[in-house]
């Protein structure tokens, strides 16, 4: 409708008989496809996914599935509508020819597109020593198969589980182990669990949670090596402090790597930090010029966010994948004047040790933190993060009903520390504390959010090319 008078009808043609290809057939890919059909896209739609399964949901994998309360192959994502797609499952995309508008597949096929959506997500960072990582009993947790394998290993009743890395996934795994009555050791290089995502003040609360639930939590140490028995099964891990822990299941929870290698040499601005795109989800090429036919969404995307100083955010958040997919799909089928920015306020949830954790905004940008409601000691609270005199993020433990209020505070750049009285304000909530994030120049394992400070006007924007 809007396009008709203004353009040559190319958009109408695209909608009627165009070819859209989605690479990455998971959460973002599926939701985008549904939105495109919803918007009346009638052309051909190809969904390419390297996993053999139709889109499934990952959050249950580290929660219900590990507890044995849900079966990994029952986590298929509910369909919002039929998408009538040509599914190419179990086949990776291996290359992209931007000028010929063609995606190459692992089986030698090529698929042509008029619009391409890249939603290849991330994968678990493997144990750096490949030989040790290949020992039986060593797991990562990203896919349905990982979840199924790990759940079986836990059901077999190992004497001890070692979780390496106490980010959200590692902490959830530890929690599930305890709930199953398994002995578990957690090794974290940082000072506390979740420090990368939520800072040291909240990290301390998380550490207490681990310890109170009987987790053998070791912080400030690195695992230096894994040792197998003669049958090739893991039996022990060696720590940087000289200690050894015997474990027959080891879960490597060291964060994620972006699935961008397949784009190496394509000319697209894709690298280890993801694929940079504009706020409308259009990918940049390596020259920093925005493409008009290639879009990005989900964990693999990095996009500038006006509310956070136009920093490029890459978010490994379920809600982000859904919202960004929606925006990308809308923009793929719109004239430029009708495009929308992806202005989603980052939000994340986790559940561990019986506690529901939620955050909004970008906590790692915060330099200070103030407990506005409840109490850290009771592990039931709301806290806000301050950055240059404004509220930049908030986190709740078992208190999420207030979160929309704090989200609004972030959206309206409300002052920090908050000047008003609230219900349930305790004495500890009277003075801000340093938020205590690890020095960003020291690499940590798998922060949920990585920030880099390029403004859209910054001409020196550079991308590290993908390594094969």
């Amino acid at each position: 409708m809007t396009g008709e008078g203004r353009s040559d009808g190319a958009l109408e043609r695209l909608k009627r008989e165009g070819r859209i290809v989605v690479v990455g057939a998971s959460l973002a890919g599926l939701r985008a496809a549904e939105t495109m059909r919803e918007k009346g896209f009638a052309g051909s739609l190809t969904m390419i996914g390297d996993e053999p399964y139709e889109p499934y949901d990952r959050p249950p994998l580290s929660k219900q599935v590990l507890l044995g309360n849900a079966v990994a192959d029952h986590t298929a994502l509910p369909r919002r509508r039929a998408i009538d797609a040509d599914w190419r499952l179990g086949v990776p995309a291996t290359g992209l020819d931007m000028s010929a508008r063609r995606v190459r597949l692992g089986n030698g096929d090529e698929v042509e597109y008029d619009r391409l959506l890249i939603a290849t997500g991330v994968r678990a960072r493997p144990w750096p020593n490949a030989e040790e990582g290949a020992l039986k009993g060593v797991f990562v947790l990203r896919t349905r198969d990982d979840g199924e394998g790990l759940q079986q290993a836990l059901a077999a009743g190992p004497r001890r589980v070692l979780v390496i890395g106490a980010g959200f996934t590692g902490s959830e795994i530890a929690s599930a182990c305890r709930e199953r009555g398994l002995d578990v050791t957690v090794a974290e290089r940082g000072a506390a669990p979740l420090v990368g995502a939520l800072g040291g003040v909240i990290g301390e609360v998380a550490a207490e949670m681990h310890r109170e639930h009987g987790v053998d939590l070791r912080t400030g140490v690195m695992v230096t090596g894994l040792e197998g028995d003669p049958s090739g099964r893991v039996r022990a891990a060696h720590f940087s402090d000289g200690s050894t822990v015997e474990a027959d299941v080891v879960v490597v929870g060291l964060g994620a790597q972006r699935n961008t290698e397949w784009l190496a040499g394509s000319g697209l601005g894709a690298g280890p930090r993801g694929i940079a795109c504009d706020a409308g989800c259009r990918a940049f090429d390596i020259r920093g010029i925005v493409t008009d036919d290639i879009y990005v969404a989900g964990d693999v995307a990095r996009s500038p966010h006006a509310l956070f100083g136009y920093q490029f955010l890459s978010l490994e958040h379920w809600g982000n994948a859904v919202a960004q997919a929606d925006t990308a799909a809308h923009n793929m089928l719109s004239e430029s004047a009708d495009r929308r920015p992806h202005l989603w306020v980052p939000a994340f949830w986790s559940s561990q040790f019986g506690v529901n954790i939620k955050s909004v905004g970008v906590p790692p940008m915060g330099t200070e933190i103030l407990v506005t409601q409840g109490s850290l000691g009771e592990r039931r609270f709301a806290a806000v993060y301050g950055y240059q005199g404004r509220v930049i993020a908030a986190v709740t433990f078992d208190n999420c009903r207030w979160l929309p209020f704090y989200e609004h505070q972030i959206e309206t750049t409300a002052p920090f520390p908050p000047p008003f009285a609230t219900v349930d304000r305790r004495p500890e909530g009277h003075k801000p504390l340093p938020a205590d994030f690890p020095d960003p120049s020291v690499p940590t394992h798998g922060p949920t959010i990585t920030l880099s400070g390029y403004s859209p006007a910054d001409r020196k924007m550079t991308f590290t090319p993908g390594r094969p």
């Binding site: 609230t422 219900v423 349930d424």
Partner: protein, 418 residues
């Protein structure tokens, strides 16, 4: 001082159709006159205030003299029940609500409501059979013969309150519900005294039951409230009393209206009634739309500001009384397309009918299930039902709004499904 606005909301003349008044109100999201409350009428503003930690539900923060049947002011402490969690802020609210939830819902009791389904179905069938056996289908009062006895029986069973005592606490419940209705003309001492007496009597009645359950616990909620000892410790006797009083009254006075408003709306929309008759599954979206279109709790008159708060350009001062007109927000055209249309096919229906935030309706899962079963069975079994009075006679209450009687006629009553 003039409180014209308040008067108008309370005015019984607007009871049958308060929506034109709400539409007028929505011209400004916040209205205020005289020394009356700040009245908020638009969806997004209400929604955000329900999540605003600068708003208190604790009646003790109210500088207004308004009486408060479910939680008395500080000076009454010791002579009557302490406030129920409906009238408390965190952390007390959270602790009591959590403890009440343990025997009621997930995560500790995920199946309770669902497991009552068959029992509820039996009650519904029994009541409809009862209508059939009276033989007089020319005039059936759906309130007295169905919409009232059903939820009351359910809440009695759930709590473990003997149903034969119902006539006694019915009077107390009515008094307490009526006193929720803010009436600027009523003599505050008289108005408050009646409620306080009713509350006392109800409290004493429940105290006897709780005492007995402590000795002989069953699997009802009273027993569980009386004996529970979870991570939050145990409830004091007074807390158990005010909590059970709250559940009993809420169970009396809200679902009744949801079901009655529901049948009234369906009878006014015969096409939807016909669809429900053919597909009982439609009761799920119908009940959601009803909660938007004719919510049983029209407004929340018990909130106070702890700081100055700016709402849509108006600064509401600290210590002010706030009225949130849920039913008006539910018809806000900025939030819902064609808001005055009853449309069970609506997508994206996030209404305010059950509140939102930490005080959102505790009994929601039960109320939904009750209303779904009731409406789908009535639709299926009543042959050619029609309204005898439209609008029917309403109850006085502007807060808990619903018909006092709903006289209908029908040609016959189909037998229970095999």
């Amino acid at each position: 001082m003039t409180q014209a606005l308040l008067r108008e909301i309370i005015d019984y003349a607007n009871r049958a159709n308060p929506y034109p008044l709400y539409e007028e109100l929505r011209k400004a999201p916040v209205s205020h006159d005289g020394d009356g409350p700040y009245v908020v009428s638009t969806y997004y503003e209400i929604q955000s205030l329900l999540h605003d930690p600068r708003i208190s539900s604790d009646a003790r923060n109210l500088k207004a003299t308004g009486d408060d049947p479910l939680g008395q002011s500080a000076e009454d402490e010791g002579t009557t029940l302490p406030p129920s969690f409906l009238k408390l802020d965190p952390p007390d609210h959270d602790r009591l609500r959590r403890m009440t939830n343990r025997p009621f819902g997930p995560p500790h009791t995920p199946h309770r409501v669902h497991d009552m389904r068959e029992e509820l179905g039996g009650l519904v069938s029994g009541l409809i059979d009862g209508i059939a056996t009276t033989g007089n289908l020319d005039r059936v009062d759906l309130v007295d013969q169905f919409a009232y006895p059903f939820p009351v029986t359910v809440i009695c069973r759930l709590l473990g309150v003997p149903h034969e005592d119902e006539p006694r606490f019915h009077v107390w419940a009515e008094t307490l519900a009526a006193s929720l209705d803010p009436d600027p003309d009523a003599d505050p001492t008289q108005h408050g005294k009646g409620a306080m007496d009713a509350r006392m009597e109800l409290g004493m009645y429940l105290a006897g039951l709780i005492e007995e359950r402590r000795k002989n616990p069953g699997d009802d909620m009273l027993s569980q409230l009386a004996t529970a000892d979870g991570p939050d410790g145990a409830m004091t006797t007074m807390e158990a009393l005010s909590t059970s009083a709250l559940l009993l009254i809420a169970g009396h006075e809200t679902t009744v209206n949801l079901i009655t408003n529901g049948m009234l709306t369906l009878l006014r929309h015969p096409d939807v009634l016909q669809r429900l008759r053919e597909d009982p599954g439609l009761s799920v979206p119908i009940v959601e739309e009803l909660l938007r279109y004719e919510p049983p709790v029209q407004l929340l008159p018990q909130r106070t500001t702890l700081s100055d708060i700016e709402v849509a350009g108006v600064t509401i001062p600290k210590g002010a009384s706030l009225w949130l007109i849920l039913a008006s927000g539910n018809r806000d055209p900025k939030r819902f397309e064609n808001p005055d249309r009853f449309d069970p096919d609506r997508k994206d229906i996030q209404h305010l009918g059950l509140g939102s935030g930490i005080h959102s309706c505790f009994g929601a899962p039960l109320a939904r299930q009750e209303a779904q079963l009731a409406l789908s069975e009535l639709a299926r079994r009543l042959e050619n039902p029609r309204l005898l009075e439209d609008p029917p006679q309403y109850r006085q209450n502007a807060v808990l709004r619903g018909p006092r009687h709903l006289p209908i006629a029908c040609d016959g009553i189909l037998p229970q499904a095999a």
